[in-house]
């Protein structure tokens, strides 16, 4: 074996990360063109001041914000509302936050599942007022449960064309996407891939929540641009 082969072969042997990165960037380019299939013109107009930001974020090169630092804190407190925090995270903006050494009482997946859909939505929005907390180590059980729900019962309902609760599914997609940003866990990214790939007729009902859809797509756009999975 000559020296050049000996040196280059280990590098060539595993181009896995390079191939993955290429695939994600191609999907990002596709999203740049196709995101309008997910939000109607009226839906976009209903977003008010958020609309131009979303449009420019999804159609442009898009920036990403590295939130991995959030995982090093036990918990994060912030003054902004859940809605404002989610908007800032999705659009790769900034959040004023204060790290805390204490976290709220544990939320067990079993308890979460006992709640009605409305209560679940309220509980998740209250607990993750700063949505970065879904990336905390203590929230692993809840995050795994949200991923399971998306990829098992929710997916089955959408694929079968059955009724589903649009807001809670979109909230889960947003939270799972944020978890992926923080933990770099490919399973969480792939949940977003999977839902993005569903036939448009399955996703048509999601247009009823244009804000959540827009923010989900912005989070997805950031994830596709992450260089180091």
């Amino acid at each position: 074996m000559d020296l050049e082969t000996a040196l280059s072969r280990p590098v060539q042997l595993d181009r896995r990360k390079e191939i993955l990165r290429g695939a994600l960037l191609r999907k990002r380019a596709e999203l740049r063109k196709s995101w309008k299939h997910f939000i109607s013109t009226e839906g976009l107009e209903s977003l008010g001041s958020l609309a131009p930001e979303v449009e420019s974020f999804l159609s442009g090169q898009g920036s990403i914000h590295d939130w991995r630092l959030a995982a090093t804190f036990t918990w994060i407190n912030c003054d902004a509302s859940f809605s404002d925090c989610l908007r800032s995270i999705a659009l790769a903006g900034k959040i004023e936050y204060r790290p805390s050494d204490t976290n709220p009482a544990r939320l067990s997946p079993l308890d979460l599942n006992k709640l009605s859909s409305d209560e679940r939505l309220k509980t998740l929005c209250a607990r993750y007022r700063c949505p970065l907390n879904i990336g905390a180590a203590s929230e692993s059980d809840v995050a795994e449960e949200l991923l399971r729900q998306l990829m098992v019962p929710d997916r089955a309902k959408l694929e079968a064309g059955e009724e589903f609760d649009v807001d809670i599914v979109l909230l889960k997609l947003n939270l799972v996407g944020i978890r992926a940003m923080i933990t770099r866990d490919l399973r969480f990214l792939d949940a977003l891939n999977y839902f993005y790939e569903l036939p448009h007729r399955s996703l048509a009902r999601m247009r009823a929540s244009p804000r959540y859809v827009a923010l989900w797509l912005c989070i997805y756009a950031q994830l596709l641009s992450v260089p180091d999975w």
């Binding site: 595993d14 695939a23 490919l186």
Partner: protein
């Protein structure tokens, strides 16, 4: 040792039975489950079609008849977790069940077997539980293979691992045929697992679920990526 193959079809059950029936000290039964609760017409048409599609359809048919005559072919008409089916399984007094049906097992079914039910999972446990684990292993650059373990009612969480065989994906340029090959290793690996179980003082390896994750069905985009990784490796190899 009395062993029952829990199969989704007679053909599927016979394939595994053929591999293990010559093991000394093994009595084999084939339990054909009615997966999806098909109507009798649909079920038997499917069985017939599967038999005819088989290269050795005549051998399969004669073997099936022999098993039926000896009372070693059991056809379940009700779901596997129905009390009547469980009673029938209990009456066989089997030590081990071999999973070859596309069903979820509940505790009463599992406990109808003295040691439990073995599953040949096409991923390396404890790291890769759940679905599409061969694809996920390739995507994340981890070893691929099959783990034979005693199931519990969770998703690949059974605590007793009998054996683990690493089977590299290097020579494959698409994931579907690679997975089919892994699935096809079940009979051989069940045989190996039964041989291990018959050894005196058999010891199991644990399956610490904290050391792994549950995986789910993979998106088309990632499956394309996995195929690309495999092609790339095969071309380099």
């Amino acid at each position: 040792m009395r062993v029952a193959v829990l199969a989704g079809s007679i053909k599927g059950g016979m394939r595994i039975a053929k591999e293990i029936e010559n093991l000394p000290g093994i009595d084999v039964f084939v339990v054909a489950c009615n997966v999806g609760m098909r109507s009798p017409l649909l079920r038997w048409s499917r069985e017939l079609l599967l038999a005819l599609k088989s290269f050795n359809w005549w051998t399969l048919t004669t073997k099936g008849c022999r098993y039926a005559q000896q009372g070693r072919l059991i056809i379940l008409h009700r779901p596997l977790d129905d009390p009547a089916s469980i009673e029938r399984l209990r009456s066989l007094q089997c030590d081990v069940g071999l999973h070859a049906a596309n069903v979820i097992y509940r505790d009463p079914t599992i406990s109808a077997f003295r040691f439990g039910i073995l599953n040949a999972h096409i991923g390396i446990l404890p790291k890769y539980r759940g679905r599409c684990v061969a694809e996920w292993s390739v995507l994340q650059g981890d070893p691929t293979g099959v783990t034979v373990f005693f199931i519990d009612s969770g998703i690949d969480t059974g605590a007793r691992t009998v054996l683990r065989e690493f089977i590299p994906s290097n020579q494959w340029n698409r994931v579907r045929p690679f997975k089919n090959m892994l699935f096809g290793c079940d009979a051989r690996l069940y045989r190996k697992a039964l041989e291990a179980l018959m050894q005196p003082g058999v010891r199991f390896e644990g399956n610490d679920i904290l050391k792994g994750k549950r995986y789910y069905v993979m998106s088309k985009m990632f499956i394309h990526t996995v195929n690309k990784i495999l092609r790339d490796r095969a071309n380099l190899g």
